[in-house]
């Protein structure tokens, strides 16, 4: 009985404190993949988010930001469930969500049912999210998977002399988008993509996939991430694989390059492209790397931030800076805030970012090669920087629309 009444007092105290400060708080919901195959990616995303809070602070004028974090597992329904919980139960006003491609498409569609709220994409990169029927209250400050591959196809064809490649990728929208960007450019340059293999997200046993890789190609492109990528590399090493490799943006990333074990060494020399390069010398990037390293002890982080940390950092930056521009004014269905978000130009760690009319980022892309730092740690070394990459990849929008949406078989391997 005593225990019960004590609990009641504590509970009412909590509720009272809630109402007392409600006026001065702005609630923000954050989702990340903290379960399943992409757990490591979600964890590092949250580290990027924390780093941004350390740098920018949580105050907006006289108001304080309050964050609620929810976990997803990279499936669209888990993302919608988490977002719905944040809105209905935690009453958040702004969302920083989601992390993964399919989640992005689902959350964008869900955003339309809550036009009064603001959704800022955290890190997801499927093309469809902002390209097809975009939601007016959904803003994306990172590039999509195809933009992140810009430069890779040409570099492989011209500099490395690859003529025929095959691809292996996870079977979902973000990797479709990545392969879309690669195929468009590589085939446009005159190369051939002979074979595209798709494996379910969360595949553990890749031995048969590895056996089915063609051996008459110059390189094999890997569009895998998280646990799938680690498993692939491990079994690739056991099978004695020797082909040249190329990698997608979450394959050649600290989430994989700093995994435990030595299977990752197969990646040394691998060509890749992404929205960041670990060893870029730009002072803004170096400062971000240092902020990230200072924020966490070495065994609780990667040697250098992953693409996910960078994306979460950029999105959080947009969220806070735009909120400061309007001095935390969320009245009139957040219309002033949305206008500020649409206009804002970010000086993000990975280059300047601005939004197009679909509220999709136009940013900088990096072609990289994996190097060993001599102490056993792997990093992506920048070989080419390409500024101002837009969603239609430099194509005329009408031509781009004819290519079709990324899928298992689109685009065809030809010059558009």
């Amino acid at each position: 009985m005593l225990k019960g009444s004590l609990g009641l007092i504590a509970l009412s105290g909590l509720l009272m404190s809630g109402t007392a400060f409600a006026q001065e708080k702005i609630k923000v919901g954050v989702t990340a993949t903290l379960e399943g195959t992409y757990t490591v990616l979600g964890e590092d995303g949250i580290r990027g988010f924390q780093t941004a809070l350390n740098v920018l602070g949580k105050k907006v004028g006289d108001k304080e930001l309050e964050f609620v974090i929810a976990s997803t597992d990279a499936t669209p329904d888990s993302a919608v469930r988490a977002v719905r919980k944040l809105i209905e139960q935690d009453k958040v006003q702004i969302l920083l969500s989601p992390l993964s491609g399919d989640e992005g498409i689902a959350v964008k569609n869900f955003a339309k049912t809550h036009p009064e709220l603001t959704f800022i994409n955290a890190a997801s990169g499927a093309q469809e999210t902002t390209y097809v029927d975009p939601a007016p209250n959904f803003f994306r400050y990172n590039m999509d998977g195809a933009q992140w591959q810009v430069g890779l196809g040409k570099y492989a064809y011209d500099t490395k002399g690859y003529r025929k490649i095959a691809t292996v990728g996870e079977d979902y929208s973000f990797i479709y988008t990545q392969v879309f960007g690669l195929v468009l450019e590589f085939c446009g340059a005159g190369g051939q993509v002979t074979n595209r293999q798709w494996v379910p997200l969360g595949t553990k046993d890749f031995a048969s996939v590895i056996a089915a890789l063609p051996d008459d190609v110059d390189a094999i492109y890997l569009g895998l991430g998280g646990g799938d990528a680690v498993n692939f590399l491990n079994q690739y090493q056991q099978a004695g694989g020797k082909a040249h490799l190329m990698g997608g943006s979450i394959m050649i990333d600290q989430t994989i390059l700093s995994s435990k074990g030595n299977a990752k060494n197969a990646l040394i020399g691998t060509l890749a492209a992404s929205g960041q390069a670990d060893t870029w010398e730009d002072p803004g990037w170096q400062k971000f790397v240092k902020d990230y390293q200072d924020a966490f002890p070495p065994n609780k982080r990667f040697p250098s931030p992953s693409l996910l940390a960078t994306n979460y950092y950029g999105s959080t930056m947009a969220l806070i800076l735009a909120l400061r521009q309007v001095n935390g004014d969320l009245s009139d269905n957040q219309s002033k805030y949305k206008a500020a978000l649409a206009k804002i130009e970010l000086d993000a760690p990975n280059g300047k970012i601005k939004l197009d009319s679909n509220r999709q980022a136009i940013g900088t892309n990096f072609v990289t090669e994996v190097v060993d730092d001599g102490k056993g740690a792997l990093f992506s070394k920048v070989v080419k920087v390409i500024p101002n990459v837009n969603q239609t990849l430099g194509y005329d929008p009408a031509v781009f629309a004819k290519i079709g949406l990324p899928s298992r078989t689109v685009p065809e391997c030809k010059k558009y």
């Binding site: 379960e35 798709w198 553990k204 031995a207 048969s208 646990g227």
Partner: protein
């Protein structure tokens, strides 16, 4: 065997033809027409071998599960957690001592201890109450998963393959003929062969222990009728603890195996629990040969599926489960 042929001559003929076709597919050099139709022989052979070796891993997990169920009628839904726990222990040992073999021994002992604790502290208190046991073990598996996430993080761990097992070996199976007529032999990862052999040895040892020893006799008697066995004066609780320890220890060993040729991360516990449930449902609850057959079927279905119908590969295993449940609900090799 002869009884089966006498009773079902038509089925026996079909089985013999199927076996002959499979043997021909494995040993013969494929004519060019066949290669055009279903792809290269190297891919097929690899898929078959991978299916068999993956089946070996599934057997290790599922045999413990089925043994515990067969004797105690406990549906231990925390079995996947034991797998993952064994894997993490194996990683810690192999990373600190560099010994792969030691990783197996320690993982077996520690998971067996956890199994003993589970049996003594949890299952003994709710004997015969299926629903309560199920709910409690689901709860425990969630608690274990979060504890392991807390201790090990969401990172991917791979147990280092010992250097003498890295790389492929050539098997005396011809995959193709070069234009000069010189045969090309199948190259296959050595570590998977070793792991498969080990699971076969464990399987045979378990079968021998169950069928040729006194303790095996007691366990078999317990599976058939627990109450009568207890009435004859056998201290059944000790047998229970022993079997639980063995089942849990096998899951721990499987964790080390899985950590070596796949990887360890949060979520693996559920995946292997699901795999062993499917294997045991297909093979028949409580039967060791059933677990072996089920593991082989599921492993082959997964691997051949991932090569020949990649889009629907996930569905195939469940389709098999549905078929078995529809046609032979007690499982393929169930005794009752």
């Amino acid at each position: 065997m002869t009884r089966f042929v006498e009773r079902h001559p038509a089925w026996a003929l079909i089985v013999i033809i199927a076996v002959a076709v499979v043997l021909w597919l494995i040993f013969a050099v494929w004519p060019p027409g066949l290669e055009d139709a279903i792809g290269r022989k190297r891919v097929f052979l690899n898929a078959v071998f991978n299916g068999i070796t993956l089946g070996g891993l599934y057997f290790l997990v599922a045999s413990g599960f089925t043994l515990i169920f067969g004797l105690m009628r406990n549906v231990n839904l925390a079995h996947g957690s034991l797998y993952l726990f064994g894997g993490y222990v194996g990683y810690a040992i192999s990373a600190s001592t560099g010994s792969w073999i030691l990783a197996f021994i320690v993982a077996f002992i520690l998971t067996a201890l956890v199994g003993i604790l589970l049996q003594v502290l949890v299952f003994r208190r709710m004997e015969g109450q299926d629903l309560r046991q199920t709910m409690v073990t689901i709860g425990l598996s969630i608690v274990f998963a979060d504890l392991m996430l807390w201790a090990c993080g969401g990172d991917f761990y791979q147990i280092q393959t010992p250097s003498w097992l890295i790389g492929p070996v050539e098997l005396p199976l011809i995959t193709a003929l070069k234009s000069s007529g010189e045969p090309v032999y199948l190259r296959y990862p050595l570590v998977r062969l070793v792991i498969f052999l080990a699971s076969v040895i464990i399987g045979i040892a378990m079968w021998l222990a169950l069928n040729r020893t006194r303790i095996g006799m007691i366990i078999r008697a317990g599976v058939d009728d627990r109450d009568i066995l207890a009435a004859t004066g056998v201290r059944i609780q000790i047998v229970f603890v022993l079997v639980f320890a063995l089942g849990a220890g096998l899951a721990g060993i499987a964790g080390v195996v899985g950590g070596t040729f796949q990887s360890l991360s949060p979520g693996e516990d559920i995946r292997f629990l699901l795999a062993s449930l499917v294997v045991v449902i297909v093979g028949g609850m409580g039967s060791i040969p059933g677990a072996a057959l089920g593991a082989l079927i599921i492993g082959l279905a997964e691997q051949l599926g991932s090569v020949y119908i990649p889009t629907y590969a996930i569905v195939v295993t469940f389709l098999i489960m549905v078929l078995v449940l529809a046609l032979r609900p007690q499982g393929l090799l169930a005794r009752r």
